[in-house]
């Protein structure tokens, strides 16, 4: 049995979680998931500004904090912290923790190869719209293939203390240690599907230990000290989801079910570079306090193509708000919205979209919101999006004037006009897997 913990569900997750996972009980592998779909474009911008950056900058200081303990106890760290510059990330880890052996998985970065790939006839068409990539070629910021668990397992086989990947799948961070420890083969689909589903359960950190959870949430103990998840994996593909004894939160079959359904598409065909996992085969059973046993998982062959995550410059957006108070709070906010739109139209400004929400009334749930007929206050929130930066910038000057020239009682404008933000959009595509060749580099 091996224990695989997940201490980070995204870049920005709780900084203390991975440290506590190391300090509060036994683990063999510490997986850290830093990348969301749009993170690659953020790190790409950072690399353009400074060629020594372009990775999850929280990661090297964390390894510095836990270096002595993971070295002494033989804990291996597996992270997709490399972003678009995994070697630079590894060098910084080595600078802060010179005693550690670090392995880097490279080959996911397709940005330098885009013209070559397009030139040889790969369309890299948008999976949602079907548009060919050439239509946004001059605005692309990053392009990375999702790589699976086998290259990461190969990096573990070098004996490295820390394995850094770029855009590997979130689930690969948990599956790779199982492949490495149990010697699973590339066509053992049921085992690979089991490891993938274990990865899916823990990839969002505390979302499977009581965080963001509707299972009697008010009774979940000690959320301030919530324990991040641990998978106790067996060589036969069964596993237990748990957390360290004495930590907060809750692990039960109901809690794990919520996370199994999170960001799920067709449950029979959960596609990864390693296999196709079937979520309709999962069997869950409570196995004592804060322990859930998972078994029965079946999988099928991996897909022919790899998914590619491309980010490109789309345009600009800005979102601003004003607060109106009782009486007639909603009527005042509605009138202010109409005035803003009338003034924008009079200026002849064009936007891809103008979107209005009444925060406190219907912002999140729209027509499904519970009626709030006479709210004590309403925040008018207006956003615009468009290709013309000047138009978006002009919009940001149209809210604060309403304090003097609109309905009575506007407040909440303390920060002045809202910032204009660049919009980097996501372009999912597919590519033949033979085009992506990974390699492992060791820094020691």
């Amino acid at each position: 049995m091996i224990r695989i913990a997940n201490g980070q569900g995204f870049w920005g997750d709780w900084l203390e979680a991975p440290v506590r996972l190391v300090e509060q009980g036994p683990i063999d592998y510490l997986a850290l998931d830093y990348l969301a779909e749009i993170t690659m474009s953020i790190v790409q911008k950072q690399k353009l500004a400074d060629p020594n950056l372009g990775y999850a900058r929280d990661f090297p200081p964390l390894i510095g904090r836990i270096a002595r303990q993971i070295r002494e106890r033989g804990i291996k760290v597996v992270a997709n912290a490399g972003g678009v510059n995994p070697v630079a990330c590894a060098r910084e880890v080595r600078r802060l923790a010179p005693e550690l052996k670090v392995a880097v998985v490279e080959g996911d970065d397709l940005y330098p190869r885009l013209d070559e790939l397009l030139g040889r006839g790969h369309m890299l068409a948008n999976m949602e719209t079907g548009e060919p990539l050439v239509s946004v070629r001059d605005r692309i910021l990053s392009a990375n293939a999702y790589i699976g668990a086998f290259p990461v397992a190969e990096a573990l086989a070098t004996g490295a203390d820390v394995v850094i990947a770029g855009r590997c799948t979130d689930t690969a961070l948990a599956l790779a240690p199982m492949i490495h420890a149990f010697g699973w083969g590339a066509e053992q689909w049921n085992l690979l599907a089991a490891g993938t589903i274990a990865g899916h359960i823990i990839e969002c950190g505390a979302q499977c230990t009581g965080g963001n959870c509707y299972v009697d949430w008010m009774s979940i103990p000690d959320m301030a000290g919530i324990g991040y998840p641990i998978v106790e994996a067996e060589a036969d593909g069964t596993f237990v989801v748990t957390k360290h004894a004495g930590t907060g939160g809750r692990v039960s079959a109901d809690v794990v079910k919520e996370q199994l359904l999170y960001e799920l598409g067709d449950p029979r065909s959960y596609l990864t570079p390693d296999c196709t996992a079937d979520f309709t085969t999962i069997q869950l059973a409570d196995d004592g306090p804060d322990r859930v046993r998972v078994s029965g998982i079946r999988g099928r062959a991996r897909p022919e193509k790899l998914k590619v995550s491309i980010a490109y410059q789309w345009g600009y957006k800005a979102i601003g708000s004003l607060v109106y108070t009782w009486p007639q709070a909603m009527e005042k906010a509605g009138a202010a919205n109409r005035i803003v739109r009338e003034r924008l139209a009079a200026l002849g400004l064009r936007f891809d979209e103008i979107y209005t929400e009444y925060f406190g009334v219907n912002a999140c749930h729209g027509p499904a919101a519970v009626a709030n007929l006479d709210p004590p206050e309403v925040q008018l929130r207006i956003g615009v999006r468009g290709a013309d930066k000047k138009a978006v910038d002009r919009f940001t000057r149209e809210l604060v004037p309403l304090v003097l020239s609109g309905p009575p009682g506007a407040t909440g404008f303390g920060d002045g006009r809202p910032p204009v933000r660049e919009v980097v959009a996501y372009w999912p595509a597919l590519l033949d897997r033979e085009e992506v060749r990974t390699k492992v580099e060791v820094l020691a």
Binding site: N212, E258, Y355, A363, A368, V424, P428
Partner: protein
């Protein structure tokens, strides 16, 4: 009798591009059939009204007593493009838990686990 969906199920939602997924899970295995009957793709689409511009698909996971809904065109462009407060669809689950569903009186809502 009519009760909010929360009486017989819990849920979690998330995003994939401009699509929201909502997983709806029966508290008790025997209520999975009630979910299948009451929480149809058509009703979910109608419940969210103008928030969802595309189709709603429904998948079944009887092994978990759960349904998975995909609400296409539900995030105003999705990801970074969206101008919404809930650009990642995190709160669609809690909205859906307020949807009225018809249950047998013998279902005994007073014994529901939440």
């Amino acid at each position: 009798m009519t009760v909010p969906l929360a009486e017989i199920a819990h849920a979690r939602s998330g995003d994939k591009g401009d699509t929201v997924n909502i997983g709806v899970i029966a508290w008790r295995a025997e209520d999975f059939e009630v979910l299948r009957r009451e929480v149809t793709a058509e009703r979910v689409k109608a419940f969210f009204g103008e928030l969802v511009t595309g189709e709603v698909e429904r998948y079944e996971l009887p092994n978990l007593g759960a349904l998975n809904f995909l609400l296409h065109g539900a995030l105003g462009g999705g990801g970074t493009l969206s101008l919404r407060t809930d650009a990642q669809g995190k709160t669609f689950a809690s909205a859906l838990l307020g949807m009225p569903v018809e249950v047998a009186v013998s279902n005994g809502t007073e014994s529901a686990s939440n």
